[in-house]
């Protein structure tokens, strides 16, 4: 109980303090960055310590276990993002200490929604991480692209929040309470399921669909990624999504796990997954801007994650969390590579990466590893995640869905390998120019690659830890179909 509290307070107070003392801290950027990084790393450690201490905070926040794992993933994401920002702090003229505060708040929001067992806290968590990312996307306030991206993201995000909240309000009416267990009990005791439940569920899924950028709710993604500062895009592509996908799994299994209801949401998730994977991959095929390409790729990746939730089993949920962890390392790594190379003078178009293998072999190699992990090549984190997600789908009897997912992986190979081939096999336009990548950025990339390799090679311990954390939910999760 103590450790979780310390970790949560670290994120909340750490962020607030950085905001409060912004003017003082601004004079010393190194200390500010160190402070932000320190808070994220300390929170990570305290979440790790709290893993074996289950409990409930104020009746609405689950401590230990799953929420500890979620907290660890989110703090890790925050730490890696802060490292990426530290590599070139001069880009963030609008205020340096604020950016660390917003990154910490995004992590806090994600942690809150994962641990929530109350609809109100779930909503607060989602909004905390959403508002922080709205500001982060528009952080280059003198650049029109950044402002345009933030405005589009805000308008569609506000729509998503409204749909989600409308769904929550209907669910509140149908379930007779805001607590997950209260809703589950009311629905289980009802002779006929209340009519409000179905529109509520549909709106809830649509709201989460927007937040997770599932097709057909993904329209904001490519613009937001392209216009945002690259490190903001990195955070946006993993932080709120890892939080929301685990929170969605938690909500669906704990509050709406009744067999008559789970059949419906499983069907809906299957269709969303198929659409998301296919449309995301096909649209990524002919993108020329690298950030836009990664935007569509992240749409497709989220589709794959949803396959695990659609399976509706404990193994599926377990695979989803492992996938989210590996995806966090991989995608932040990929975006940090782009940010670091951009600072070193390489453009953001795919064509600008021609011959990079000769101009800057180390960064090119690391970027290649991230792309391979995204594509799902064995021994890398992306492969482990995909493998267990697909396996859970097959075990749940969703053979067609698993087949479509595997076919989509093959489509995805085309655009990831297009970039890799460009880097290593095509001559550069100006080969004489070497590219110097910042040492801090290199450290962040190396950490990312270590994470990708460790999860990819030894997923066993991670899976075990996740399984132990999910055990308390066991009774509430529907097994099989």
């Amino acid at each position: 109980m103590v450790f979780s509290l310390i970790a949560l307070l670290l994120l909340a107070l750490g962020g607030s303090m950085t905001l409060l003392f912004a003017t003082v801290l601004e004079r010393n950027p190194v200390m500010t960055a160190g402070g932000g990084l320190g808070v994220a790393v300390l929170a990570l450690m305290f979440f790790a310590l709290s893993y074996e201490q289950p409990g409930v905070l104020l009746g609405m926040y689950q401590l230990g276990g799953l929420s500890a794992i979620g907290g660890m993933i989110l703090s890790l994401i925050a730490a890696l993002t802060i490292l990426g920002v530290m590599a070139n702090p001069h880009k963030y003229r609008a205020g340096l200490s604020e950016i660390y505060a917003l990154i910490l708040f995004t992590a806090l929001g994600g942690t809150l929604m994962i641990g929530a067992n109350n609809l109100l806290l779930l909503y607060i968590g989602i909004e905390l991480s959403s508002y922080s990312t709205y500001i982060l996307v528009g952080y280059y306030r003198d650049e029109r692209y950044s402002t345009e991206a933030a405005t589009k993201y805000f308008v569609l995000g506000a729509l998503a929040s409204a749909l989600l909240l409308y769904g929550i309000s209907l669910l509140f009416g149908a379930g007779g309470g805001l607590y997950y267990d209260q809703i589950a009990a009311t629905l289980a005791a009802a002779d006929t399921l209340p009519a409000l439940l179905w529109p509520g569920l549909a709106l809830l899924l649509a709201g989460f669909g927007f937040k997770l950028a599932l097709v057909p709710f993904h329209a904001w993604t490519p613009d937001a990624y392209q216009g945002a500062p690259t490190m903001a895009a990195a955070l946006l592509s993993v932080g709120p999504k890892a939080g929301a996908v685990i929170a969605l799994g938690n909500l669906l299994t704990q509050a709406l796990g009744l067999e008559a209801i789970s059949g419906v949401w499983q069907q809906a998730l299957i269709w969303l997954a198929v659409l998301t994977m296919t449309v995301g991959n096909l649209q990524a095929l002919n993108q020329r801007n690298l950030k836009r390409l990664l935007g569509y790729s992240s749409v497709a990746q989220l589709g794959t994650i949803i396959v695990g939730l659609a399976a509706g089993t404990l193994a599926g949920f377990q695979a989803v969390i492992l996938y989210a962890l590996g995806y966090a390392f991989t995608n932040i790594g990929a975006f940090t590579s782009i940010a670091a190379l951009r600072d070193a003078g390489v453009g953001e178009e795919v064509d600008d990466y021609a011959g990079l293998g000769k101009r800057q072999p180390q960064a090119a190699l690391l970027f290649t590893l991230f792309l391979l992990s995204l594509a799902g090549v064995p021994l890398l984190a992306g492969f482990a995640g995909k493998l267990f997600v697909f396996k859970s789908a097959v075990d749940a009897g969703l053979i067609v869905l698993a087949t479509i997912a595997v076919l989509n992986t093959v489509i995805a190979y085309f655009y990831y390998f297009r970039v890799i081939v460009k880097m290593w096999l095509q001559p550069a336009a100006d080969e004489a120019q070497p590219v110097n990548v910042n040492a801090i950025a290199m450290t962040a990339l190396a950490l990312g690659v270590i994470g990708v390799l460790v999860i990819g090679t030894f997923p066993g311990p991670f899976l075990e830890a996740i399984a132990t954390a999910l055990e308390p939910l066991g009774g509430l999760i529907i097994v099989g179909r």
Binding site: Y134, I135, E148, T151, S169
Partner: protein
């Protein structure tokens, strides 16, 4: 006699109005107002459900929604002011540069 369904219908109508406004208005401030209408529709829902099902948590929820909506508008207004500063107009029209 007013029942819960009347209030839910009112909420649905308000939500539809807000949704229409959000999707059809070109002025950013009008979009912000539509967001407010959407959230108020939800407030009607929550408060009515709290009253008819005798659930005090609903009233607390409503208060939280009001506070969070204020925060949302603050963020939105800041972004829209920036759009105005950069483009001279506060409409969605200049916001289509990235499509190429």
């Amino acid at each position: 006699m007013l029942t819960l369904n009347h209030f839910l219908a009112l909420g649905a109508i308000l939500f539809a109005i807000g949704l229409y406004g959000l999707l059809s208005r070109r002025n950013l401030v009008a979009i912000l107002m539509s967001v407010e209408i959407l959230l108020n529709a939800i407030l009607v829902n929550v408060v009515a459900i709290a009253r008819f099902n005798d659930q005090a948590q609903g009233d607390v929820f409503a208060l939280f929604i009001i506070a969070i909506a204020a925060a949302e508008v603050a963020v939105g207004l800041a972004l829209f002011l920036n759009v105005f500063r950069l483009n001279g107009v506060a409409t969605v029209d200049p916001l289509r540069r990235m499509k190429e």
